[in-house]
């Protein structure tokens, strides 16, 4: 790997690494607008200008268009570079309106940040600023303000390279250049929110978040999207227990920097009216529904009690369910039911939106394989059950019918299963607990607790701990870290993983043991 120097700090990076990324590895931040790690290089903002050594002495060059090669040395803090940055800032801001008080981007705006870091000049403007089209409704989720645009063309490249729709274009010349759509067209794709994310200024802003909250009030918590089995890495932005927006978090192995529009709305239901807030038994609120459930499980007997693993629930919750069954209900049958919940996202495509809308299908399959003897939907239909304990999955919709005499439902929101259930125990939504999910690639990813659970909900693994205690033997799943550690010790494909090892970006599962091993033994 070639060695490059950034401000005389020598680092080794793979050949061809973009110098903005290389500098980041060396701990040097190069300011930029148009460069984006997942888009092509445009080189039109000129903000990343730095001095590179050449046979003719140090030359000014844009870092985004430089690739790491042996002996390359750049300097980012020379007087010349600083003067260039200042001039570039002045140039970009010549026609920029003073919209900061009403602009949703302020607080996370590159123009604001870089002006304070690299601009700080006194305005020399004497001519009136060039006015452009403001507050244009260009799509279901996006508002365009052409005046605020710095013509970095990130959104144009996103339309060309990621969605392939090519809808946004730069039009006209000189200081009349503005971003816009063809007449009569609107953004039609399902990845519009990313346009607001990649816009380094306030030209493209999100309609759902418009004027909702200033960004500097929001705290960000790493999470995972539970809208489908892709498991896009997300940041949940919340303030005082209320979730205001969900943004994609970069993970080159899963979602790069993108996420779909329906996924952004997944967490908006956290505090919705359909949320289950109080434990109920036969429609009446009770203080401790787990005790009632334990009594009914005992009354029904293990032979006529079934448990359904939840592909919308976390690994920890499913593990807790299996442990409760193993410790207290030997002989009870465990099922898992494929399909989607009522009210889940309808759309799917071949990019990020998977047709399987359960965030943990692979995780449930993993645990089911480990536990063995887990029945499917057909087995559940045929089983003669007095009581069915359901973990988060909306099985009534999935089976189009009630398969048991009574249902006990652990869930976050009301749905056909919750409406039919005789016992309802509210559990925490993904933003309200620490939990892990396995996505369609078999990647174990962790979501962190951002807010406190609504109402009397508690994380499902804690509710199941209470149920286990009421049945006689608690599974020891009240703490997510210890629960995951116990699971990782026991389940071979999770061996060696813990919350620390998962880190921010998650870790792939160990490969499944070769199913070919059994026939090979037969052959011998």
């Amino acid at each position: 790997m070639p060695k490059v120097k950034v401000n005389d700090i020598e680092i080794e990076v793979p050949a061809g690494t973009n110098m903005i990324e290389a500098a980041k590895l060396a701990g040097v931040e190069i300011p930029h607008y148009c460069y984006h790690p997942h888009l092509s290089i445009a080189g039109n903002c000129r903000m990343c200008m730095c001095e590179a050594d050449s046979p003719r002495g140090p030359m000014l060059e844009i870092a985004c268009n430089m690739q790491a090669r042996e002996g390359l040395s750049i300097k980012t803090e020379t007087d010349k570079v600083k003067a260039v940055r200042k001039s570039v800032m002045e140039f970009l801001l010549v026609n920029h309106p003073l919209d900061c008080p009403i602009c949703d981007q302020s607080g996370e705006c590159r123009l604001q940040d870089y002006y304070m870091d690299h601009g700080q000049y006194d305005s020399r403007g004497v001519d009136p600023k060039v006015g452009k089209h403001k507050r244009q409704d260009i799509g279901e989720h996006i508002v365009l303000d052409a005046e605020r645009c710095v013509e970095c063309s990130r959104c144009v490249r996103f339309g060309d390279e990621v969605t392939g729709t090519g809808d946004l274009r730069l039009m006209n010349r000189g200081d009349h250049t503005e971003i816009g759509m063809f007449p009569g067209t609107r953004l039609e794709h399902n990845y519009q929110g990313n346009l607001a994310d990649i816009c380094p200024v306030g030209a493209l802003t999100n309609k759902e978040f418009r004027f909702q909250r200033r960004v500097w009030y929001l705290r960000e918590t790493d999470s995972v999207c539970t809208g489908c089995s892709t498991g896009c890495n997300t940041k949940v932005c919340h303030q005082e227990g209320e979730v205001f927006r969900t943004l994609p978090r970069r993970n080159d192995d899963v979602n790069k920097s993108w996420m779909c529009d329906p996924g952004r709305e997944v967490n908006s239901v956290v505090g919705s009216l359909t949320r289950l807030l109080r434990p109920t038994v036969d429609g009446a609120p009770v203080a401790d529904a787990t005790a009632v459930l334990a009594a009914r499980i005992k009354a029904a007997g293990p032979g006529r009690t079934g448990f359904v693993l939840g592909s919308s629930a976390s690994l920890e919750a499913n593990w807790a369910l299996l442990q409760v069954v193993k410790a207290n209900c030997v002989g009870a049958r465990v099922f898992r039911v494929a399909g989607n919940n009522a009210g889940s996202i309808v759309k799917s495509d071949d990019f990020l939106m998977d047709a399987d809308k359960n965030p943990n299908t692979a995780g449930v399959a993993l645990l089911a394989d480990w536990a063995g003897n887990v029945g499917d939907a057909e087995a559940l239909r045929e089983a003669d059950l007095a009581l069915l304990v359901v973990l988060e999955d909306d099985i009534v919709s999935r089976l189009s019918g009630n398969p048991a005499e009574a249902i006990a439902y652990f869930g976050t929101h009301t749905n056909p299963t919750a409406e039919l259930a005789s016992i309802v125990i509210p559990v925490a939504h993904v933003v309200e607990m620490d939990a892990t999910y396995v996505n369609r690639q078999g990647r174990v990813q962790r979501a962190r607790r951002a807010t406190n659970p609504q109402g009397e909900a508690i994380p499902a693994y804690q509710a199941l701990e209470k149920l286990g205690a009421a049945l006689g033997r608690a599974p020891g799943t009240s703490m997510p870290t210890a629960t995951f550690a116990a699971m990782a010790r026991t389940v071979p494909r999770l061996n060696g993983l813990d919350y620390k090892a998962l880190g921010a970006g998650g870790r792939p599962l160990a490969p499944a043991p070769e199913p070919a091993a059994a026939p090979a033994a037969e052959a011998k």
Binding site: C100, P101, I102, S106, K134, R135, R210, F211, Q212, R214, W216, Y217
Partner: protein, 188 residues
């Protein structure tokens, strides 16, 4: 805790107290006699009939400014609640259709029980929308809710610079309108 030792030992006349008490009475009676014969020196102001003139930089209750077209100047940028050290300002922003300002405060409440009258909100405001120049210091109410000044209330303090200063305020509080106006000396 040990008490500090007296730094000065008292003389005989001081420790007897009698002389000191008489000295005090002489001083008091001196003021009484002077005040009787020279009433212009009177230190007491007969509030609320007479008001103390406030200095030019005295702040008092907040008011919200209007644009020439009658809309509020505030665009709900949230700079004032951000800078407020007492956390007393609550703004709910909304989108203003057919208005180039785009954003406006649907509600703008200041909890005067929390406010410490530091004036940071005025300094932070990029639109000169909030001012503390009414010099109204009689901020009182019978309930906590009434101590929260609303947008409509603070907009009505708009006439604060005119002779009928704070008319709405005084009407609410049944205060006779003979007080000073901020730019004029108090009227006796």
């Amino acid at each position: 805790m040990a008490l500090p030792k007296p730094t000065k030992t008292l003389t005989l006349s001081e420790s007897s107290y009698l002389v000191e008490v008489l000295k005090g009475m002489v001083l008091t009676m001196g003021h009484v006699i002077k005040n009787i014969f020279d009433q212009d020196r009177f230190r007491t102001i007969e509030y609320p009939d007479v008001r103390k003139p406030m200095t030019a930089r005295y702040r008092g209750a907040h008011r919200l400014m209007l644009r020439p077209d009658g809309g509020v100047k505030c665009v709900a940028c949230m700079c004032c609640p951000t800078v407020c050290p007492a956390n007393c300002i609550t703004i709910v922003a909304g989108e203003a259709e057919n208005d180039p300002a785009e954003k406006f405060p649907v509600s703008f409440d200041i909890d005067m029980l929390r406010c410490i009258y530091c004036g940071f909100c005025v300094e932070a405001c990029p639109k000169d929308a909030i001012r503390m120049d009414t010099r109204i210091y009689e901020i009182n109410a019978y309930t906590r809710q009434d101590m929260v000044h609303s947008k409509a209330y603070m907009v009505n303090l708009m006439d604060g610079l005119k002779p009928e200063a704070g008319a709405a305020y005084r009407a609410d509080h049944a205060i006779k309108p003979h007080g000073h106006t901020p730019d004029e000396p108090p009227v006796a």
